[in-house]
């Protein structure tokens, strides 16, 4: 198995506030890692560092053998390989679902217009939204929008997918449809890092669960280890509060 992500002693501060205080993480190809933990613990900031939406204060991030934290690196090229799904979907409101998916591959000359259109329709079918191809985002429900957003990220054929609380902005009845798509993706062998509050998803799908709080990794292990026999008191406390 190839190592996809290697993070070494990652630190990030906003002004004088230390948000990440030295994170080390390795993710193997095809692994699904779920990051759980209390709000404000640095989960989202950490995830956003992985594709450099946040710059880091110090430390090293390597994705696919590219050192992201080096200055001279072509970050746009590397980002093509790292898909990201956001809590607030962030679909482009001026483009239809299909065009949302087609834009990046066509614009970055990864595919011709026809290839991208075929790919977009195929992806929409995969997330169960074939009939919504020509609808604009505001005509879709939250769950549908998030599924289109996942399809959009997949259109670039990334090696790694980052999910930043993908179901937190959804009405409860729509959470399932999004998690289902993510589950299928995991089963197909996609390398995934998921920040989530869905403990059920973490337990069922993750290969490894990480509890992050106060800017450090408090505990990590298989879902069984972490949910059934948590060692750290901070973990026990968090799980008591959410389960």
């Amino acid at each position: 198995m190839k190592e996809k992500i290697r993070v070494t002693d990652l630190r990030k501060s906003f002004h004088h506030l230390d948000v990440l205080k030295g994170i080390d993480l390795r993710v193997q190809e095809g692994e699904v890692v779920c990051i759980i933990g209390p709000s404000g613990g640095g989960k989202s900031t950490f995830l956003r560092c992985l594709n450099q939406l946040e710059t880091v204060t110090s430390g090293e991030i390597i994705v696919d053998d590219f050192v992201l934290t080096e200055r001279k690196v072509n970050i746009n090229k590397i980002r093509e390989n790292i898909g990201m799904v956001f809590q607030s979907f962030n679909l482009f409101p001026h483009l239809t679902a299909k065009k949302n998916i087609m834009m990046a591959p066509v614009d970055l000359k990864k595919m011709t217009r026809d290839q991208a259109e075929t790919k977009a329709l195929e992806l929409l079918k995969r997330v169960g939204l074939s009939e919504k191809a020509d609808n604009y985002p505001h005509e879709l429900s939250g769950g549908q929008q998030q599924r289109v957003a996942i399809a959009r990220a997949l259109a670039m054929q990334p090696d790694v997918m980052l999910f930043d609380e993908p179901t937190s902005a959804l009405d409860p009845e729509m959470v399932g449809e999004v998690l289902q798509v993510m589950k299928e993706l995991a089963a197909e062998g996609m390398t995934m890092v998921v920040v989530t509050h869905e403990m059920g998803f973490a337990r069922d799908v993750a290969d490894r669960v990480i509890l992050m709080a106060d800017g450090v990794i408090v505990e990590e292990g298989t879902p069984d280890e972490l949910f059934e026999k948590p060692k750290e008191s901070r973990t026990q406390e968090f799980l008591r509060a959410v389960l």
């Binding site: 594709n51 939406l53 746009n76 090229k77 980002r79 093509e80 790292i82 898909g83 990201m84 956001f86 607030s88 962030n90 679909l91 482009f92 409101p93 001026h94 239809t96 834009m103 990046a104 614009d107 970055l108 020509d134 609808n135 604009y136 985002p137 505001h138 005509e139 957003a149 959009r152 990220a153 670039m156």
Partner: protein, 245 residues
């Protein structure tokens, strides 16, 4: 008899009827003159709006740039234009600027049309820059993040994702600015641009038909601006995000 009775109520009917007759006369005499003037009003307005959009977009991007010099230049430009009356700008560009330039290029002058287009374009550009900036700031940050996370460069993100949305947000203010620009061309009569207001002034000077003439030219402006608004309504509708069947 009738006239005497109404005069009794205090209205000078004779004069009133005369004003109405003037109106008829003005419509006949002044129309060809005003049509000439209209050409200049439209020419200068269209140039000002088109060039103003280009200048405005550039100034807006400079103002939002990370490089302090661009920011500084754009801010200074917007500050000067917004902080001085257009009539002063027109005088300066038509009479002041050539004086400086002729130190280097002897006998340098601007034609009235050149000065008019430069003045209105620079003027509109500064306001349009601020309108664009408002639109860009109103596009949620998540849009940029989504585009960047797909691998789009900063420039592509701006062109493909931010600007189309910013433009839609900016349209109502933009329409407002276009209307102001059209009306502001009347100020250029002070440097001698033979546009609608100037032509009317000349006509009134010769005939003294104040009431009818100024109403008449007002109608010209009303019609011109109404046409613009109809066109822009269509443009605005084309920006709506609805499924097109």
């Amino acid at each position: 008899m009738l006239i005497k009775e109404i005069q009794f109520v205090g209205i000078d009917v004779m004069n009133f009827l005369e004003l109405l007759r003037d109106f008829n006369e003005v419509a006949g005499e002044a129309t060809p003159l005003l049509m000439e003037g209209l050409q200049f009003t439209v020419l200068v307005s269209v140039c000002a709006i088109v060039i103003g959009i280009v200048i405005g977009l550039i100034a807006c991007l400079m103002r939002m740039s990370h490089f302090f010099l661009w920011r500084w230049i754009a801010s200074a430009y917007i500050w000067v234009v917004r902080g001085t009356p257009m009539i002063v700008q027109a005088f300066f560009i038509h009479f002041g600027l050539p004086q400086i330039i002729s130190l280097f290029i002897p006998e340098f002058t601007f034609t009235v049309i050149q000065s008019s287009i430069i003045t209105t374009s620079l003027n509109a550009g500064a306001y349009i820059a601020e309108i664009f900036r408002g639109g860009i700031t109103a596009v949620p940050k998540g849009q940029t993040e989504a585009a960047r996370s797909l691998g789009l460069s900063q420039g592509k993100t701006m062109r493909k994702v931010v600007l189309p949305q910013a433009t839609k947000i900016a349209i109502p203010s933009m329409v407002n600015q276009f209307i102001i620009t059209i009306k502001d061309t009347s100020i250029l009569s002070v440097i001698g641009l033979p546009e609608l207001t100037n032509k009317t002034k000349i006509y009134v000077g010769a005939t003294f038909n104040y009431f009818a003439s100024w109403i008449f030219v007002g109608l010209f402006y009303l019609i011109l601006i109404s046409i613009l608004m109809i066109i822009l309504k269509k443009v605005e509708a084309s920006f709506s995000y609805e499924r097109k069947n």
